[in-house]
Symmetry: C2
Subunit: 379 residues, 2 copies
């Protein structure tokens, strides 16, 4: 029986003639999912007992069972990018046991990278002879949140050896449903920084990544302690522990999606800490969050936001070294709108639109690349 | 309907009156699994469409569906310790979407820690005012394996600040089906080291963790490049990158289960690199692996193993600072047998048996604690 199954598996692989290769995020030796040449993805599960199996990846793809109990489905061609997905069986939604998981969508989740080799993948793919930094996992006690927490700290190549040098610091946030692991495991931020620093395009810097989920003890608001934790605990901890340049001229903050909102809140709410800020695929939220009518479109609301920081554009522009907004081309016009509205209000800001990509990690890896090449430049 | 479901959920929680608390390894806000006072575990899934759901944790526990489509099961009381488990639905085996996952059993897997608060948990639980080290994730290119690989490197508190000091190094390996993340996420090695170093029970040391799965390009043997990778690539890399004491007097190797076998192979096969070695829950494998008749029980085989290193006990004992064997009390007598056989052969070795624990992480956390307090002592 085992032998027969192996044979059927082999036959099945041959049948999927357009299948290019197992997904790079699969566990070693797992043949499926496979990314096909047209950017569709083929899934196969051996589950004779199951009565329905569905792949949920942007939309639901019900699988089909053959007479041997093997379930298969091939998706439509997918948009280029990094996509979380789930396997639904019997009404329950699981990570695919054939893959490594990534913390996203509020849990450890399977993912696909489409296409297998994106045309511009070199900048986030490790390669030989680039001096490599390291990412530290650091535990700390937060009194603000009343819990032990973990942060990730990237130090650039040479940090370990060159013990006198001090470095500027970028605080970098993930999006909703993700955590402090996102920029390392999904974003490859270490590879991106290593390469840009090696080529001289980015200054050597320290990067600090925390979970944006930070609440006061007993609070029902998942985020209400975030700013206080960063300004009162994380920044002092980092400036004490690492060889930082501990002033706002050498401190930046960026985040993606909900983390973009948090980056704006930190920079514009606490300008004494930061002089560079970037939001990747995220808007300035003024008042209650409302996607269709964000507050920044109302000039009066914009002027009064963040203690009136936008009401004196000259002072603002003099104070901030860079405000930088990014978006994926397939996400829509809302970030481009915000870029122009801020310009109209006299607020200088840069803008980057990632070609062909959506609200996902290809956009954000590129956004990181663009932002870090523009900050901390020697004057 | 939503409200009704919430009510049923509340009723269900009340019914499970003996339930102590959600598992500490659950995602935030997830009520199940719950660890009960008698060390049984209760699982609940809301899956009206499923036709069978089974929890697989050491043994299979088929769940029962009530009229509202809610599946429940309470296990037998479990042995104290860290247990991997899966959810089987429709013949497929998944991680529980309610929990964080850990790389074990060859994939990202759910786990339980029983009881919720082990009586001796303090030594691996973070606490205030203990100076904390950090764990670095470091990428490197292995020519031996023909791939980019990741290692984890623990540096003790003070390493960042005290830039002149050099440290001894422990190379620490996981078990079969796990990887370089095991000692950090399942083992809490950073907390254990932080506390023992703070109390003066252990010397400050660097700890290096690699995946034991290391094959030559194209090889079908998952482990055949491991020793060469460690001796020819990892050790030189670590000695160059970090402030190590780069000689065998200041180098130790330890591993658990299959990693114990790899630790013995490194120490006894390459004694020029290591003067301390410990195997946690693992035997010396001589020739083909055979659990029922391991080669070390045959005096002739033992004498000829590893180029005859055990054939001159005086020389061996003079050369190795410590050989240390550990096991969980519930694992059986095989490690105790090996301890005595080695003593009978004139090979000095220490032995630790962890009370009440099995072949799992409580045994290995304790083993690490015992081993690191015995190495690198100032003479």
């Amino acid at each position: 029986m085992k032998r027969l199954q192996s044979f059927l598996a082999a036959a099945c692989i041959c049948a999927a003639a357009s299948a290019q290769a197992p997904s790079a995020l699969n566990l070693e030796g797992r043949e499926f999912p496979r990314i096909n040449r047209d950017n569709s993805v083929t899934f196969v599960f051996d589950a004779p007992q199951a009565t329905s199996v569905t792949i949920s990846c942007g939309k639901d793809y019900p699988m089909t069972k053959d007479k041997d109990g093997r379930w298969t489905v091939t998706t439509e061609p997918m948009v280029e990018g990094f996509h979380y997905y789930s396997v639904k069986v019997g009404g329950l939604s699981f990570a695919d046991p054939a893959t490594y998981t990534f913390y996203g969508t509020g849990r450890d989740c399977s993912a696909l990278e489409v296409p297998e080799n994106a045309k511009d993948a070199a900048y986030y793919t490790p390669s030989r002879d680039v001096p490599q930094g390291a990412v530290r996992s650091v535990k700390f006690k937060s009194d603000v949140c009343g819990q032990y927490r973990r942060m990730f700290v990237y130090t650039p190549a040479g940090y370990e050896q060159d013990s006198g040098r001090r470095y500027p610091v970028l605080y970098l946030q993930h999006g909703g449903g993700e955590d402090e692991t996102g920029w390392v495991f999904q974003g490859h931020m270490d590879v991106i920084l290593d390469k840009l620093i090696a080529s001289g395009e980015a200054e050597p810097m320290i990067v600090v990544m925390n979970s944006g989920y930070a609440r006061h003890p007993g609070s029902s608001d998942s985020f209400d302690a975030f700013e206080e934790m960063i300004t009162d605990e994380v920044i002092p901890f980092v400036d004490k522990r690492y060889r930082t340049m501990a002033d706002r001229e050498h401190r930046a903050v960026a985040g993606l999606s909900w983390g973009a909102k948090q980056a704006y809140d930190l920079a514009f709410g606490h300008p004494e800490y930061f002089s560079y800020v970037s939001g990747f695929s995220g808007i300035i939220v003024i008042g209650e969050f409302n996607r269709s009518n964000p507050g920044f479109k109302d000039p009066e609301k914009l002027r009064s936001a963040y203690n009136g920081i936008f009401s004196d554009p000259d002072k603002f522009n003099d104070s901030f070294n860079l405000v930088y907004l990014t978006v994926g081309e397939k996400e829509g016009d809302h970030i481009g709108d915000m870029h122009r509205i801020l310009l109209d209000a006299g607020i200088s800001n840069g803008y980057y639109c990632s070609p062909d990509t959506a609200h996902e990690w290809l956009t954000w890896r590129r956004s990181l690349r663009e932002f870090v090449t523009r900050i901390f430049k020697q004057k």
